[in-house]
């Protein structure tokens, strides 16, 4: 019956180099199992092959009443605190989101045979599959490699997936099709020796347009915007953007770099980043910190010097000339959408999910994938639809959707019917209903709150109101991250959220920080600002209140960001303020668990849930001052008083640190030197303040600022300090919870 192994079946059907690398990874797994390869070395190898850890892979999980041990085999480990048998996630690189029907079928098969039959589209156009066993990963890689897909460097400290506008090549406003250049950069950088020694990852993105959302280049480590100068194709290159805990806008490295210089310039950037980027402190290791530290002009000078020293590589030009088209020919000639009877739901779907292409008679069709998920069967149906109506090709999008391109308008009704039959014909694509979310606590080790659970709830509620929704509201974007790391891109949304927690009534309550007024257009031109945390279960009402206020107070065709700026933070906060309060557990227990999860909420899977009590802690009283100063800092920023904003943000960190210190040393003064000294001794040096994953990152914000006040303060510095102070305050909350949890556990042990 079946053949012996995928290795034998597929060995000659993939790139020989890729085959060898996968075989090596297979060997490394065997060595690790024999104990002949260290866990840290193996972990780095594994990550560079796109094989991630997943929540609970340390073998610990809170089941709602108590910590439980998941009895996975404990030898060997896949990395520090990562057990071998614990399921993990595989990230699969899809350059510029381009995927063929054949590739999608293999992805579907792999999701079925190694995962839970779900393909998940990420906010960087990758696919992810979850709950994968480490020993299945080599065959998974082989099957993907046989259709020219790699997982290499999908994770780890290297060049990640090269993203690109999903409308490239068909967009009415683009300068030219960036897809072949995105592919060229991916081919050139994959496994390149100069990208193997980064302190952190490097995320590139391409845009065909300057002013649309396109590739969101302003929030990327490296961004490339198509430009034509004197009839010659090239790119504006920006570097040092990024979201994460502290968002940065990218700075311009070059207003125009001709296409034949694209690859060598990026090679030079990689060398400078590898040589000068932070290596020891991973929390300061992204290129944005290097660019901010030395300044864009110095960085530019160093790149130019580095470029001169590079040994010539023929691929600099060969990869960007005679480029094959990235999409096949359309299946059918362009046509008009014929008049006549239409199936139910077609009009609404056409309104939101169909966009005219540059090419007459053709449209781009958006598949509104709920939370970025589609089943293996749906993927196979989609492959059939792509073969029949869109020239065999599709693209994933950064909004966790997929698009079919070159659909003849004459075929739109048939495509709608086929998509609907497959369960992927939902309307409301790229509207407020189409909520974006990172995995959050569902599968991510860093997740604090259930971003997907919230997204699912919002999607359901908003979809029910979609038909009667004002157009201005429908056009808004909602994006959710499970923590401050911004994988859900909450900074770019009109209404964004990121997960955190607060202690109420002696228990931990899942919350989301509200971020308002991000700018999706202009390639992620501006980031939203925090307004305050609301309990997770109140978020749907918060969204309703915000959109109602927008509709009622909007002036002309004012954007949501414009509305937020005009209204001002103080008034915007008043809108969400009624939803901030959490009733005691006895009155509203539903607030103490998260969406799609009935367990009483905990952070870090610690046993906080048992901690019933009525008193407000000393910390709880003290930290309010810090939060108030943090908010005032935002007001000062809004009013253009950058020095005051920066100082208030700093003082809010001092207040939060003092709140912690007073738990142990009630008489500490308010003098910053005293507070910082006590904080450092009592919480930082002994790592009690350290987050399990971020380590000392947030505490360092205070120590650095206290040690060195900035010489001059502009908007960027003030904004950054405010972001830092918010994260510091969050970390103080988390630290206090850990202390209390440890105290409870110790008490329970004594009892």
């Amino acid at each position: 019956m079946g053949a012996e192994s995928w290795k034998e079946v597929l060995h000659d059907k993939m790139d020989a180099g890729w085959a060898e690398e996968i075989d090596q990874f297979d060997s490394q797994m065997a060595l690790r199992k024999l104990g002949k390869l260290g866990e840290k070395v193996f972990a780095e190898t594994r990550l560079r092959r796109g094989v991630y850890g997943q929540r609970y892979d340390n073998g610990k999980r809170h089941d709602g009443t108590a910590d439980q041990t998941l009895a996975f085999a404990d030898v060997p480990t896949k990395g520090p605190e990562t057990l071998w048998d614990a399921p993990g996630m595989c990230r699969i690189k899809i350059p510029f989101g381009g995927v063929s029907a054949e590739q999608l079928e293999v992805l579907a098969d792999c999701s079925e045979e190694y995962s839970d039959a779900i393909l998940h589209v990420t906010t960087r156009q990758d696919f992810q599959i979850h709950y994968v066993h480490i020993e299945d990963t080599a065959d998974l890689m082989r099957r993907l490699a046989a259709v020219n897909i790699t997982t290499r460097e999908a994770c780890g400290n290297s060049v990640r997936n090269v993203t690109g506008c999903p409308l490239a090549g068909v967009c009415k406003t683009e300068t030219f099709d960036i897809s072949p250049y995105a592919q060229a950069l991916m081919t050139f950088m994959l496994g390149h020796p100069d990208v193997q020694d980064f302190g952190r990852k490097f995320k590139p993105a391409f845009s065909g347009c300057e002013h649309e959302a396109c590739g969101l280049v302003q929030m990327h480590d490296g961004g490339y915007v198509a430009r034509v100068v004197d009839g010659k194709k090239g790119f504006k290159i920006v570097v040092g953007g990024g979201l994460g805990a502290v968002p940065h806008q990218a700075a311009v490295l070059s207003e125009f770099t001709p296409v034949e210089e694209l690859l060598p310039v990026m090679q030079a950037v990689a060398r400078v980043f590898a040589r000068l980027g932070e290596k020891k402190n991973r929390n300061r290791a992204r290129i944005k910190f290097l660019v901010a530290k030395i300044g864009i002009e110095e960085f530019k000078r160093m790149v130019e010097e580095e470029r001169k020293t590079l040994p010539h590589d023929d691929r600099w030009t060969s990869l960007v000339t005679d480029m094959a088209p990235t999409d096949n020919e359309p299946t059918a000639p362009g046509a008009e959408l014929a008049p006549g009877d239409r199936p139910d739901g077609f009009a609404a779907w056409f309104d939101t999910n169909v966009r005219a292409q540059r090419q007459d008679g053709y449209s781009v069709v958006t598949l509104n994938l709920p939370l970025g998920d589609l089943t293996a069967d749906q993927a196979r149906s989609l492959a059939d639809i792509a073969r029949k109506w869109s020239g065999d090709n599709m693209r994933t999008t950064v909004e966790q959707n997929m698009v079919l391109r070159f659909v003849s308008n004459g075929d739109l009704v048939a495509v709608f019917e086929a998509l609907t039959a497959a369960g992927i014909g939902a309307a409301d694509g790229e509207t407020i209903v189409d909520v974006t979310s990172c995995p959050g606590t569902d599968t991510c080790k860093l997740g604090i709150a259930a971003s997907r659970g919230l997204a699912s709830e919002l999607r359901q509620r908003l979809a029910a109101k979609s038909a009667s929704m004002p157009a201005a509201v429908k056009a808004l974007r909602v994006k959710i991250s499970g923590c401050f790391n911004s994988c859900g891109q909450h900074h770019l949304a009109d209404i964004g959220f990121y997960g955190n927690s607060r202690k109420v009534d002696g228990r931990t309550v899942p919350h989301f920080q509200v971020i308002l007024g991000g700018q999706w257009g202009e390639n992620a031109g501006k980031y939203g600002m925090a307004m305050g945390s609301v309990p997770s279960k109140a978020v749907p009402e918060v969204v309703e209140a915000l959109t109602d206020a927008y509709v009622q107070s909007r002036e002309g065709d004012e954007s949501f960001r414009g509305f937020v700026e005009r209204t001002g933070k103080r008034s915007m906060r008043e809108i969400i303020k009624p939803f901030m309060k959490v009733a005691p557990y006895a009155e509203a227990p539903e607030f103490y668990s998260d969406w799609s999860d009935v367990r009483e909420f905990t952070i870090g899977d610690l046993g906080i849930g048992e901690c019933a009590g009525e008193m407000v802690s000393l910390f709880g009283i003290e930290v309010v001052k810090a939060e108030s100063q943090g908010f005032d800092a935002q007001i000062a920023l809004e009013e253009g008083d950058f020095e005051e904003a920066e100082d208030l943000a700093y003082r809010s960190m001092i207040s939060a640190a003092r709140a912690l210190v007073r738990l142990e040393f009630i008489d500490v003064t308010e003098t910053p030197d005293d507070v910082v000294s006590e904080f450092k001794t009592r919480y930082f040096d002994n790592e009690r303040f350290f987050d399990r994953f971020a380590k000392g990152k947030f505490g360092q914000y205070l120590l650095d600022r206290h040690a060195t006040a900035p010489d001059s303060i502009d908007r960027d510095i003030a904004s950054r300090r405010i972001e830092e102070s918010q994260l510091f305050i969050e970390a103080a909350h988390a630290c206090e919870l850990r202390i209390e949890s440890a105290s409870i556990l110790a008490g329970a042990a004594e009892a």
Binding site: G2, P87, D109, E112, A117, Y131, H133, L371, Q378, D597
Partner: protein, 192 residues
Amino acid sequence: MIPKRISVKLFAADPEAEVDLHKYIRVFHEFIREKKVEGLLIDVADYSHVPEGPGVVLIGHDVDYSIDLNGGRAGLMALAKRIEGGNLADLFDDVVRKCLLAVKAVQEDGSTGMSFSTARLRVQLVDRLAAPNSDEGYASVQPEFEALAGRVFGDGATVERVEGDEPRRVLGAELCANKSDDLDTLLARLER
């Protein structure tokens, strides 16, 4: 031929009736806490937002349990996923038993309002390398399916191939009883 994965699905009594998937989130969390079904149980994955998807999945290390909506037919599916050799008949029996025990646990919980038909089981070999969905592939497993049908449903049980016209899907069959026995009877047959 031993596949790496085997799934067994027992359909709802009315497989096209709407299922309140959110009730299963609580039920499956309780299954983990109380260890009410077999296997190393890890977490609950909510896919209720996906049309005709895996519904709600009780993720395990060696076996997953889900209220599966695939094909528009709701049912409880057990998926054995860490198979490393053995005898196919024993493996089949083990996965069917786990599926039936999970259904029994759901019925004992009683909060979901869902009832199941005990007259039909879908069995699939989720391994396109070892068990391709071809005529030849099916012919080699058909006797095993027939024997399993006899062991679970007794005399008169029949076997119907599924997805036979779709080589991209996994190889499988539906086993049909000629009369409907209760869960305990089916479990008792497997223990003999």
